[in-house]
Symmetry: C2
Subunit: 106 residues, 2 copies
């Protein structure tokens, strides 16, 4: 596979993380799987909107679904996803601190 193709696929994984609700969902699923209705209640979204966002995340492979007859359970497909997210949160916090230092030195 060419480099350009790898970059494209990798960008697609990033894109699946590039939305506040989707970050929130990853945060919610940190510890253990949760069913659709629980996620719906935690996030306070419209069910159709939530369903679409979950489907984006499943399609790109960062979430997994387990369906039983009464509920759909969503979980992170890998701890790496949540690790990558934490790193990006750290980048965010580092930048915030850096800016604070520039704006109010000492």
């Amino acid at each position: 596979m060419s480099n350009k193709n790898v970059f494209k696929l990798q960008a697609e994984v990033c894109k699946a993380l590039a939305h506040p609700l989707r970050i929130e969902i990853i945060d919610l699923l940190q510890e253990k799987e949760k069913c659709f209705t629980d996620i719906l209640e935690s996030t306070g979204e419209l069910k159709s909107n939530l369903s679409q966002h979950l489907s984006i995340m499943v399609k790109c492979g960062i979430l997994q679904v387990r369906k039983d007859s009464r509920c759909n359970y969503y979980s992170l497909s890998s701890f790496k996803v949540s690790k990558a997210c934490s790193l990006m949160r750290e980048v965010l916090i580092d930048n915030h601190n850096k800016n604070k230092k520039i704006l109010m030195p000492k």
Copy 2:
């Protein structure tokens, strides 16, 4: 800061990674800073397009610029950015292998 606000800021960092060219740029800057013209040559983009993408990355804090009189040098603001990227590349590869296994078991 509320959780929802953190999620939003974090999604903005992810969004800055969510483009093939921007992933390629991060890849290029892995080892050391590079000047605009070098990045232009490596990527083969239009200069106006490249300039816009670099500006997005600087604005959200994942890249830094150092300007001398003849050239603008871009570098990663933190190793964490590149680490997050590697993790996402791993997620991608893991998924790819998982799918292969499903399509052609054993």
